[in-house]
Amino acid sequence: MESICSSMEKLFPCREAAIGILGELIGDSKEAYPSAIYLFGHSGTGKTALTRAFLKECGRKQNVRTAHLNAIECYTTKIMLEILLDSLAPGQGDALKADNMLDFVEQLHQWHGAPGAESQGFLIAVDNAERLRDMDANVLPVLLRLQQLTSLNLCVILLSQLPFEKFYNKTGLSEVISLHLAQYNKAETQRILGSDFAQVRSQLLEQFAQDTKRLEICQEAVTEEFYNNYLNLFLSVFYKACRDVPELQLTARKCLSIYLEPVLDGTVEATDISRLWRHIAGPLRSALTQIYMRIEKPPEETEDFAAIEDQSVRKLAQSLELPYYAKFLLIAAFLASHNAANQDKRLFVKHHGKQRKRMQMVNARAKTTEKMSTTLGPKSFSIDRLLAIFYAILEEKVGLTCNLLSQISTLVHLKLLSFVSGEQNIMDGSARLQCTIGLEFVMQIGKVVGFNVRQYLCDFM
């Protein structure tokens, strides 16, 4: 048990406590395992990696049979059971079949009687355990009591991001041992990020292997201290926004080359941190907006990339190529979504008659921003109304053809419109749609086709 823990501690810095507890609970296969352990914590805190490594060590050193599966894959119970059987009893081929929980438990129970199984330990780890709640009702309770049901020395480790309270249901669950992996604090994060210094350095050296001048500078400048300074600066920007260690690691490596650039050029000393900071602050901040997006830079054509990176609404609306009438349909849909139907006549008919002003109306009209329909979100509208507004805002006359009607479904496919209800009965006119785009976006589209959208919105009248 000690050997397992000590070898693990090297791999997972800052997780000594958790490893210790795990070791005490299931470190020794001679002792009775607890029936279930619940391991939870945010993403990027090392749940899966830790468990995987632990299971591997246990399997190697104590000949414990282990199984690790991801609950997302198991869209039926049968798949889960067969994966479990496969990995718990390797080398048996396809002979093992389990159609339901009963078969599975039966199968495991038989192993209990088998010779040599007395001291054998079994460990099962289930990733994304929150998905178990959506599976058959018996899955979760059985997994928690599997030890009792099979009389094997067996432990189920459930991994999830949620606390265990979220698992309770009406019938109740047996108690489990919960183990929380807390998020790393800033110092710990820095320690973890700094632990791969040797690898980063060797990678850098390899990268500049051809360029002797840079190689020299690199060899000299990139020291442990330099790297730690960099991580310090890096975390001062990023730690507030993101605590996911793998994500931070990835971004840190991306930005390191920018940080290193002035040093390699010889313009800034490697020890002059404040000047380096001034140099890196901008790029770091722009990298902050790109975090989690994982867009990879192609080696060439950086200009193209800049265009993709610029995700402002204006650019987006202009880059979205839509046929001319589709643009008008989209505008009409937006107007239908954000105007009340009883205002249509006033907005779109030329001679709509005089409107009497009453004090009541004036008061009602004096809207505050909370009441503005553009901020309240889209209302639904019928296809008839959409087409009526479309014909009202389009200057030229077009026929109601198949091509035009198919544009509506194209827009739905592109997720610019969405069905609210009645998707099945479009024929009888009760289907209702909704426009999903925002005001700014539609104004840009209006600008492209030369149509002033604001003019037709009740909110701005």
Binding site: R294, L322, T401
Partner: protein, 702 residues
């Protein structure tokens, strides 16, 4: 009809010889006997016009396919490169390499692109490819099954090993099998329509794929129709942090269309042309409705078919030498077809010899002798037109606000539709050109000349009539070039024109006595300036030379060669397709209008004697019940009272002969007919029974 032995009520299918399936089978049996791959009969396939159509279409189609292949090639190359490179790097962590291909909104069009990718990867034997359509992936189970089936099926096809997979593999099985059978071949999963996938399925799928990334080399390819924000909008952080995205941009659809138009449809190689209106119509569908290049090409193909199907005379629409050979085969009817062409009449009228006119109109052999010259004139006209178009495009394409249009296709339409010289847009262009500075103007015109010459050398010279075309055009270009040289040499000095003699006030401005006088003088001068402009007599030598050049261009190229269609040489109809009404009727579906016609005037489709109507709104008892009910419902408001409707129906159907009869008692037969017709109307979606007022129906259309 045979009675059934069944006691239950229902609808029974009787299999007799007239079913569709039977016909199909019969057709299948027949076809091999006929020995042709076409649906059409032997007698059609052997006609010269059909042969010509086949030749023209295959040529065009090949050209278009080549062009598209080339335009896809760059992106495709990058994508294949990306996939192959993923195989070389070792997977360290659970990150799924992903390529996002921004395709543009018409996704059916881009499926061909993905097919090309699949073929390329297969041919390199570097990857297994599975194309996952969103319609196959309603649930995660279906998605994983079709994914595994796609990959395993591929394997079978490749390695011919007889696995008895029934497509019911689960994930674990897939892992074992696939991991055992392949080491470093990539497993490429293509999702051609990213937007149509349900978000939850997609997220789970990506999570699963990324979880297996360490063991199995998966690469994901997404076809994204809108923009990258769609990807980031669909995938939450915990999913998007599991993929590594690389974005690939494809050519935008309008650019692709312009390429096809410029290189293929406007190519001088082909004898077939579209008239300005048809051309505009097809591009209009593309730009205004669907952005589908495939749809455009099919529309064009339809025009081609329609054109050639008009008769054997249209087989002459081909290269000059081939057409000459075809002339001999023409029958008397074909010659009559030619004589009936609208442009043939002016040709006859301009002959001033009575005998020759009679010969042309009656003697087939005489006309056959004349035809080669006519054909040659026609073909030459189109070549000259095309070359001059090149000149004009360069000349006016980059003027501010592009009054005539920027692209070649717009200019083509404008020039074909009406005499471009007379249009105000053209005058605006000329005016703008005359405002250019000397350097700009000279550079522009010489650019035009160079480009036209280049075009003559590249595209025209290799054609049959190329030399003739060059012979006509080259001297004209030389004339223009000389004129441009004049412009270069011209000085800015003012040339005194005779009517400027009495404009001596210029120096006298200082000698005014009062403010009033000054004002008057200034007014007078400005008037003079205006009148000078109106007379359009340029003052400087440069301006004169410039005007002269512009006039030369106008008279030599624009007026002579860029003639509108109605002014084109005789029998140009053989080469130009202009029957826009037919095309419109056939390629644009208008279901609402068709339904209305069918219900309002059944005679239009049924061609029966009984339903002939003098007036559209007329109501006759002999009309089909559905039609009567429809017409009556048009007269109602939003809610229709069923009883009133029934009364009206009865009075129409029974023709008002039993007016005095029992008003209350309605013949059950009529009631049944009415009920059935109303049900049919409801089925067609015109009305809906309302729940709130049970004796009323709601109208749904207006």
């Amino acid at each position: 009809m045979d009675p059934t032995i069944s006691v239950s009520k229902g609808c029974f299918v009787y299999k007799n010889g007239a079913t569709r399936a039977g016909k199909k089978a019969a057709g299948k049996r027949k076809r091999p006997a006929a020995g042709s791959s076409s649906l059409l009969g032997q007698e059609v396939v052997e006609q010269p016009f059909y042969a010509e159509y086949r030749r023209a279409w295959s040529q065009l189609n090949q050209h278009i396919a080549d062009l598209q292949q080339r335009s896809y090639a760059r992106t495709l190359e990058q994508l294949v490169d990306f996939v192959v490179r993923q195989g070389q790097r070792e997977a360290r962590d659970e990150v799924l390499p992903t390529a996002a291909l921004l395709t543009g909104i018409n996704q059916p069009d881009h499926l061909s692109q993905f097919t090309a990718l699949t073929q390329r990867l297969h041919s390199q034997r570097s990857a297994r490819v599975c194309v996952l359509q969103s319609r196959d992936c309603a649930t995660l189970k279906a998605a994983v099954e079709s994914l595994v089936f796609g990959l395993i099926e591929n394997e079978d096809a490749d390695e011919e090993d007889a696995d008895d997979d029934d497509g019911e593999e689960d994930v674990a099985d897939r892992d074992r099998k696939a991991a055992a059978s392949l080491t470093r071949t990539q497993l490429v999963v293509i999702l051609p329509d990213f937007e149509c996938f349900a978000a939850s399925v997609l997220q789970d799928l990506i999570l699963i794929l990324s979880a297996h990334c360490v063991a199995l080399p998966f690469v994901l390819v997404l076809g994204v129709a809108t923009a990258m924000t769609a990807v980031h909008g669909t995938l939450p952080y915990h999913v998007s942090s599991k993929i590594r995205l690389r974005v690939f941009q494809t050519q935008a659809a309008p650019t692709g269309l312009n390429e096809v138009l410029d290189k293929v449809l406007l190519s001088p190689k082909y004898a077939f042309h579209l008239s300005g209106k048809t051309f505009k119509f097809l591009t209009h569908i593309f730009l205004y409705y669907d952005f589908s290049i495939h749809g455009f090409i099919q529309g064009f193909k339809y025009c081609l078919m329609e054109h050639f199907f008009a008769g054997n005379a249209f087989a002459l629409c081909t290269d000059y030498s081939k057409a000459l050979a075809r002339i001999k085969q023409l029958t008397h009817e074909d010659m009559e077809t030619i004589r009936r062409l609208p442009s043939f009449r002016p040709y006859v009228e301009q002959i001033n010899d009575c005998k020759r006119i009679i010969a042309v109109l009656t003697d087939d052999d005489y006309l056959k002798k004349k035809l080669p010259q006519l054909l040659r004139d026609c073909l030459l006209h189109f070549l000259l037109f095309r070359s001059s178009l090149e000149f004009l495009t360069e000349l006016v394409g980059d003027l501010p606000r592009c009054p005539l249009g920027k692209l070649r296709r717009e200019l083509y339409v404008n020039c074909l539709n009406k005499a471009v010289v007379t249009t105000p847009e053209y005058k605006e262009c000329v005016q703008m050109l005359s405002f250019l500075s000397k350097d700009e103007f000279v550079a522009k015109v010489s650019r035009c000349l160079d480009r036209t010459e280049q075009f003559l050398a590249d595209e025209i010279a290799s054609l049959e009539l190329g030399e003739a075309c060059t012979a006509v055009l080259q001297p004209q270009l030389e004339t223009i070039r000389k004129s441009v040289d004049d412009v270069v040499n011209a000085s800015m000095a003012t040339v005194k024109s005779p009517n400027q003699e009495r404009a001596p006030t210029a120096d006298h401005l200082t000698a005014v006595a009062s403010r009033q006088e000054l004002k008057e003088q200034l007014l007078q001068r400005s008037k003079e300036d205006k009148s000078r402009h109106q007379q359009n007599t340029p003052t400087t030598q440069f301006a004169r030379a410039l005007q002269k050049t512009l006039q030369l261009i106008e008279s030599l190229l624009v007026q002579d060669h860029l003639r509108p269609l109605h002014d084109a040489p005789p029998i140009h109809e053989l080469f130009v397709f202009s029957d826009i009404a037919t095309v419109r009727r056939n390629i644009i579906g208008a279901p609402r209008a068709a339904l209305h016609t069918a219900l309002n005037n059944p005679h239009f489709y049924m061609q029966c004697k009984c339903c002939e109507l003098q007036d559209q709104a007329q109501l006759v008892g002999s009309l089909p019940d559905l039609s009567v009910v429809y017409k009556l419902h048009l007269e109602c408001g939003r809610m229709i009272n069923l009883f009133d409707w029934l009364q009206a129906f009865r009075s129409v159907v029974s023709g008002g002969d039993n007016e005095d009869g029992n008003q209350e008692q309605i013949d059950p037969q009529i009631q049944a007919r009415f009920t059935r017709a109303v049900a049919e109307l409801q089925f067609l979606g015109y009305i809906k029974m309302s729940k709130r007022k049970t004796d009323h129906a709601t109208r749904l259309t207006w």
